[in-house]
Amino acid sequence: MVKEIERAGIPVVHIATVVPISLTIGANRIVPAVGIPYPLGDPNLGEDKSKKIRRELVELALKALMTPVEEQTVFEK
């Protein structure tokens, strides 16, 4: 799906829990997510902290969308 979105001309960022899969299928802008059962946040830390993590991840994703890349790039925090 990521590739078809990009092929259609819409920049896309993949927030993915399993980065190697994202790299294998061919996403170009990748943001590693937190964990498989909770990709955007961490409910174990309580709602506020979980949401803060989510906000930071989405901010990183937006930054990735605005960053020129020549090849597959993983945006670490």
Binding site: M1, A8, G9, H14
Partner: protein, 349 residues
């Protein structure tokens, strides 16, 4: 004993009817074997007869596909073929596409076995390898002798209803079909054998080749996300409560587009997860963990992003074939483009 009737399809060039200048030639029928058909007839032997050969220019076929197919089907019907062979086309692209198209049409129309041959990189190979037995050939007619031998062997099996073994054994292009069978050794033993062979530096062939993924060059970045509308797509299986469209919890065959209009977060009263590949407990409590609507709404009101689509797009990623996923993507991008979506955040569990 009556002979097995074969009809053969070749292009103008292999029929000796001229080269590129004759590529516009309309379908014609000749009695008996022509060109490579003579070698095929010899390889098939006494029990088989190439009763007729259809010849068509590659350009003619390419430019009038439907009409040419119809005409060719009409030409060969009176012969009542029991086996149809097209080519081999080697690396000739237009010829390969013609061979695949006509072979598939014959199979559908007459319900008889069909066979063609191509070089692996012939564009016709990727188009038809899933539907047809395509014998793997060299990239030029220099490989004719080998191609003919393999095609005759496979053709004989097909005509007699014999079991077609794997692509390696029979020499055809892999079709992406997996056939279950009982192996005399169990999987663990075979895995260890394979590992030992690998460690010894001996030849080791995987039992499960990974698919080859294509690549899309990265797009230039978004100038300013505060000026564009963003959409969320997910493979995390978030759906409205009750899963109205019955999206599968694994190996999905469909996706859904669901409204988030007027919502400031993903409420667990409205949404659930049906994903069969992860522990759903956390996301069931808070679907924002997969579709980050709460923070995107904040960013929207703060002007960090230009806007948010009124919907999100969703499916289940686990077990879903890359073919299906590609199909979903090709389908929903039309909507994203129509709605002037400037960037997508795709989340995966």
């Amino acid at each position: 004993m009556s002979k097995t009737i074969i009809v053969h399809y070749i292009n103008n060039f292999f029929a000796g009817a001229g080269g590129e200048e004759a590529a516009g030639m309309a379908p014609e029928l000749r009695e008996g074997a022509v060109g490579p058909g003579l070698a095929l007839a010899e390889a098939f032997g006494e029990e088989y007869e190439i009763a007729a050969t259809v010849i068509c220019g590659d350009n003619y076929f390419g430019e009038h596909m439907e009409e040419a197919t119809e005409r060719i089907l009409k030409l060969i019907r009176p012969y009542g073929p029991q086996l149809f062979i097209a080519g081999p086309a080697f690396n000739a692209g237009r010829y390969g596409v013609a061979c695949g198209t006509i072979a598939r049409a014959v199979e559908e129309q007459f319900h008889i076995p069909v066979l063609t041959g191509m070089y692996e990189e012939n564009p016709g190979a990727d188009m038809f390898r899933r539907d047809l037995i395509i014998i793997k050939t060299k990239n030029s007619a220099a490989g004719m002798r080998q191609a003919v031998r393999k095609m005759a062997a496979a053709g004989e099996k097909l005509a007699k209803g014999g079991e077609i073994l794997g692509p390696e054994e029979e020499g055809y292009l892999e079709r992406g079909i997996r056939v279950n069978y009982f192996h005399e050794k169990r999987g663990s033993e075979r895995a260890v054998d394979l590992l030992v062979r690998k460690m010894r530096g001996e030849e080791c062939t995987t039992e499960y080749p990974m698919p080859v993924f294509d690549r899309v060059p990265p797009l230039p970045p978004v100038d300013d996300v505060s000026k564009v509308k963003i959409a969320v797509v997910t493979s995390g299986g978030i759906v409205p409560q009750g899963n109205p469209d019955h999206i599968e919890s694994s190996s999905a065959t469909k996706y859904g587009i669901y409204s988030i209009k007027g919502m400031d977060h993903m409420d667990k009263a409205d949404f659930m997860t049906i994903h069969g590949g992860y522990d759903r407990a956390f996301v069931t409590e808070d679907p924002d963990l997969v579709v980050p609507l709460d923070v995107l709404r904040e960013m929207e009101s703060e002007g960090v992003i230009g806007g948010l689509a009124d919907y999100f797009i969703t499916t289940t990623g686990t077990g879903t074939s890359t073919g299906n996923a590609r199909g979903f993507g090709r389908d929903f991008v039309k909507k994203l483009l129509d709605d002037n979506i400037g960037a997508v955040i795709l989340t995966s569990t």
